[in-house]
Amino acid sequence: MTRRRYRPDASGRLHLVLVPLAALWLVPIVMTLGLSLLPRSNPKTTALGLLPESPSLSNYVEIWQGNPILGHLLNSVIISVPSIALTILFGSMSAFALARLRVPLKAVIFGALTLALILPMSSIIVSTFKILQSLGLYNNLLGLVLVYTALGLPFAVIIIRTAFLAIPNETYEAALIDGANRWTIYWKLYLPLARPALSVVVIWQLMMTWNDFLLPLVTLSDNALKPLTLVPLAYRGTFLSQPGALFAILVLISVPIVAVFLAVQRYLVNGLAGAVK
């Protein structure tokens, strides 16, 4: 490895730069956590407005009791989890076909897929709204799942295909000669090997499904169906008088996705690099 060759004092100097930079980067996060502890009884802050004068957990209790938070949280899960599963499944299937099978019009399909990468959500929102309405999926979480899956597929296909291509072609041919059919090869051989790439897709798709608010804003009219991200916007008026509760909700929105990120973090770099395990 080359790393031994770095001069020993270099990493000390590196920390000298990295620590202040990281601290600066963390300011918004620290403030979010700080203000989530800002009680209604004493809205005074200290430390440049980053921290409450008298921290208290009352906001977390309050939002839990005052709003159907658990329901909104569940809605977010019901949207994200199936969409991630479908994106992984359909995306890896397409990626397998595009990497290893003879596909008619391969270039056209690949080009078209990248088109979806370009497509802004706001451009398709009106038509999506109409399609979902005609399919009877307006005001329905399944509709959101399908749209997010469609929009997430291009990225999934590109990333997973790169990983599949890194698997030596001989493996594929050997398995074929051994009489394995293509579905078995895909499911038993390729999919497990692409695990780092799949973790990238999981995070990417979770970022889209968990964080988006435009699509639910437009296609869900029922308050009970709304995901967590719409809560701060929906109750903006109420929160004006109690910023502490608003920031507690923001923390609540962020905790699950940060947890998933920390769980898959060590796979991400290799997954993006197209490496296989």
Partner: protein
């Protein structure tokens, strides 16, 4: 021959679910937009055909000019800083360093937060009364810091761009880290033996070898800039008085606040054309290898 046809059939089965979803939620919306862009339409009643009237109107719309200017600023002022800081962070955090996983997490976490969260948090940070920036300004006597960044038309777009850089720099870092994994360590080894300093190694060897990463980030950056909606919507709603308007926020306003679905579709079509043309010209200029992972 029979074998080949059978394989093509299997391939289509593998592709079928993706293609069906794709047709319904990507291809159809594009067709729909093109069609609706020729109508004067409120989205409910029967639309009135106006041909290219909406496009003519758009060209004369001063807000459209603002959105183009803002997109240009966004592209210029987000891609370069995100790439440079991201690259430096990646090089620093690619070596064996105490706490490097923690550093990586700190810089990447903003990218996975919801724009709703980021927007509301930064509204507070930039708030002229309660915000951190203004507090620093009052403490140090640098009065300029206490100005209303997001509600001043001359600074709103730049404040949003600044927040975007905070949010997405870690994403560039991750891409560069991935790119660095693909560089043959013997190249670095050889340069070291030839006496290259850290700085030379970075500028002359690592930076050029990461060409594909630069290009991917450039493409994603251009597309991302054109697509920017959520962050601006939460931070400023495109205001004040359209000063920080982007094409997608303007589309949204036209469609859902002003009920001009025809006009909104026109903006969408223009946005799509701009995005496709710029992506295609990049692919044409640099080859598509950086996107598909194929050798070019």
């Amino acid at each position: 021959m029979r074998y080949r046809r059978q394989e093509a059939g299997t391939a289509l089965l593998f592709l079928a679910p993706a293609l069906v979803l794709f047709a319904a939620f990507v291809v159809y919306p594009i067709v729909y937009n093109v069609q609706a862009s020729t109508l004067r339409w409120d989205g409910v009643n029967v639309g009135q055909f106006v041909g290219l009237g909406n496009y003519k109107e758009l060209l004369e719309d001063p807000v459209f000019v603002t959105t183009l200017r803002n997109s240009a600023w966004w592209i210029l002022l987000t891609i370069a800083p995100q790439a440079i800081i991201g690259f430096l962070l990646a090089v620093a955090l690619n070596r064996r360093l105490r706490g490097r996983a923690v550093y990586r997490a700190i810089f990447f976490i903003p990218a996975i937060l919801s724009p709703v969260v980021v927007g509301i948090v930064w509204q507070r940070i930039l708030d002229p009364f309660n915000g951190v920036v203004a507090s620093v300004g009052r403490l140090t006597g640098i009065d300029v810091l206490t100005q209303p960044w997001l509600s001043d038309p001359s600074t709103a777009i730049f404040a949003a761009i600044f927040v975007n850089v905070w949010m997405w720099t870690g994403f560039s870092m991750l891409f560069y880290l991935a790119g660095l994994q693909l560089i043959d360590t013997s190249v670095i080894e050889a340069a070291r033996i030839d006496g290259a300093t850290g700085l030379q190694l970075m500028a002359r060897i690592l930076w050029p070898l990461l060409r594909n990463t630069h290009l991917s980030l450039l493409l994603l950056g251009v597309i991302g800039s054109l697509k920017t909606f959520e962050l601006v919507y939460v931070l400023t709603e495109g205001g004040p008085n359209h000063a920080s308007e982007m094409l997608p926020t303007y589309t949204f306003k036209q469609a859902f606040q002003l009920q001009s679905v025809g006009y909104a579709s026109t903006i969408s079509v223009v946005l799509l054309v701009v995005a496709v043309v710029s992506s295609l010209s990049m692919v044409r200029a640099f080859g598509s290898g950086f996107l598909t992972g194929d050798e070019t």
